[in-house]
Amino acid sequence: MLEIKNLVVQIEDNRILNGLNLTVNDGEVAAIMGPNGSGKSTLSYVIAGKEDYEVLDGEILLDGQNVLEMAADERAAAGIFLAFQYPLEIPGVGTMTFLKACLNAQRKARGEDELSTPEFIRAVNGAADKLEINKEMLKRALNVGFSGGEKKRMEILQMALLQPKFCVLDETDSGLDIDALRIVSEGVNALRAQGRSFLVITHYQRLLNHIVPDTVHVMSKGQIVKTGGKELALELEASGYAEYRTSEAA
């Protein structure tokens, strides 16, 4: 599904990713854990196509196609989805208008017909019910005045509607209370399927109790330094990241 080979990335002369290699198979849920500053969020942005980063070397292949040559919107149409750590508020853009514009832009890019309004509303309402998203929220401007938990649920709603192939969840658990964490996790679990893979970025093992990963990777200084099964997350929770920090600059 997704294969990252020797990825070297810098921003303003700061090297963030140092020859990172990672493979996520079809249907797999891979977790990436690591200390602050290890490059986890950078990795998520580079996969999604943020332009601030300079890719010096390497490839990101989605089903064999190098996505580094694509703009962010083209990657989205190809099936990459990033659930943001801090979803942005967009005053003046109605949530429904936004959702419809995104869905139809992706369909158009894939050469599919636009969804009719009744079909669209049915799809949104169905997804919103599962995520316990209030209909009033859908009438407001995108993310404006939403709580942290509401914003994260809105991210998962978008994921459910857009049906991406490869989902990156960037610290989706940050700022969530226990109930919101459960709702968001259930939303993600419902989307687990053959033909769809996940990269779950988190600091804490807590999220991985709800979204149980197939593989766990530890990231440090812009590289994957250890890979294991779900038990690796438990080990990290017990021992901390000290072992992976020792050689880091102060």
Binding site: D73, R75, I90, A101
Partner: protein, 440 residues
């Protein structure tokens, strides 16, 4: 002291000549002090950037020749011109159509006016010395304005609209101004709107004309809003791309009167929309919004003066400018709070979105406050579309141009979403969408 000779520009000399030669044709000048207005104008001439109020909009440099006043068009020419007019054309309204500054009865709904509304052509009103003419120039400062003086001096046509006390017609009146012609011309119109106590009235105003032709419309709208009455006014400037479009809205608000006015500018090479408000009665409320969407070579100026002379007045002024190319936006806003105007609450804001680096925005806010118990503020911002927001939208599959359009719509939309009349609001939003589409 040495003698200073004021060198007149060819346009100024031309205007004097035109004024002299047109004098005989003007109707009853007494009622509007045409002579006096022109003498005042002649003394100062076309304002250049040395005149503070015109610092960013140099009319002396922009108006290089005095365009002759347009004659009334033939009915066929008027019909042809109006056929292509699109400003507010989908909104159900009683229309008053002005072609080249002349009221065309055959294209107007003078016999199908909303209940409680009367319309008198200006020349008829001047001919019989209509008592309402004393309501003209409802704000003291507007009389000293050279653009308004020129309008008075060359005034050719217009209308007096009265809304009876307590009348609340649901159907708006649409002032439809259309320009047409093959050679350069100027127009000067004046419309007076008088709202009786407790009346509520919707007024639409659209301005359109041919591209590629230098023409100079100068339109003035004088308004008196009686006690507890409300005027809701939406205006579209979609003038041709070489037009120099000057306009003035002056409003007197009596006690508890309400004004809502929005001006959307996409047209004209140079436009200057002047707003004069006189808060004459207590607890009056004014919402004054503007949106300008500009491309290469355009200049759009919004100049506002809000004179609070009574207690408890509320003013909310919001101006949004989007600049896509080598264009200039100008906002000048002045709030005066007189000594007795305690508890005035005035907020003025001008925001600019620069889509390309070549654009420029000039903001000049001024506050003159003589009362001690007031809340007044102003703010101005200017910047490019937020990269983080663009990335967020693109990461959801929106191509860059679509994402940028969505952000522009959201930015400008704030200035038009307050419009009460649904049809007018939709037409304004449609105007914004059309501009974005044309931009590609």
């Amino acid at each position: 002291m040495a003698d200073v000779t004021n060198l007149r520009s060819p346009a100024e000399a031309g205007l004097s000549k035109l004024f002299e030669s047109s004098r005989a044709a003007f109707a009853s000048e007494q009622a509007i002090s045409r002579e006096e207005a022109f003498r005042f104008f002649e003394a100062t001439g076309l304002p250049s950037r040395r005149v503070e109020a015109f610092k960013y909009t140099d009319l002396r440099a922009a108006i290089t020749e005095a365009a002759p006043p347009a004659e009334a068009p033939s009915e066929d020419a008027a019909k042809a011109a109006v056929a292509g007019a699109t400003g507010f054309h989908e909104v159900e309204a009683a229309r008053l159509t002005f072609v080249n500054g002349h009221l065309v009865a055959a294209l107007s709904d003078l016999d199908r006016l909303p209940e409680g509304v009367t319309v008198t052509p200006l020349n008829e009103a001047m001919g019989k010395g209509d008592a309402r003419l004393k309501l003209l120039a409802p704000v003291e400062q507007v009389r000293e304005n050279p653009v308004y003086q020129l309008n008075t001096a060359f005034l050719a046509d217009g209308a007096l609209i009265s809304v009876a006390a307590g009348a609340k017609p649901a159907t708006p009146i649409h002032l439809r101004f259309v320009g047409t012609g093959a050679t350069s011309f100027s127009t000067a119109t004046r419309v007076l709107v008088d709202l009786g106590a407790g009346a509520e009235f919707f007024l639409l105003e659209s301005h359109e004309g041919p591209s590629g032709l230098i023409y100079q419309p100068n339109d003035a709208l004088d308004v008196h809003i009686g006690e507890e009455a409300a005027l809701r006014h939406s205006r579209i400037n979609r003038e041709g791309d070489a037009a120099i479009a000057l306009s003035t809205l002056s409003v007197r608000l009596d006690a508890r009167a309400q004004l809502e006015t929005v001006n959307l500018v996409t047209g004209a090479k140079l436009s200057r929309h002047q707003l004069y408000l006189h808060i004459a009665g207590e607890d009056a409320n004014a919402v004054v919004n503007g949106a300008a969407l500009l491309g290469d070579g355009q200049l759009a100026d919004s100049t506002l003066l809000a004179d609070h002379a009574a207690t408890g007045g509320v003013g909310r002024e919001m101006f949004k400018t989007v600049i896509d190319g080598e264009a200039t936006g100008v906002f000048q806003g002045k709030i005066i709070v007189r000594q007795g105007a305690q508890q005035t609450d005035g907020k003025m804001k001008s925001d600019c979105l620069l889509l390309k680096d070549e654009g420029q925005m000039m903001n000049k806010p001024e506050l003159e406050i003589f009362a001690d118990d007031v809340a007044c503020g102003h703010g101005a911002t200017c910047g490019a579309p937020d990269d983080e927001l663009l990335f967020y939208l693109m990461a959801r599959g929106l191509p860059r141009a679509t994402a940028e359009s969505l952000l522009v719509q959201a930015f400008v939309g704030e200035a038009v979403e307050a419009v009460t009349h649904e049809g007018a609001r939709e037409a304004l939003i449609g105007g914004i969408e059309a501009w974005l589409k044309a931009r590609g």
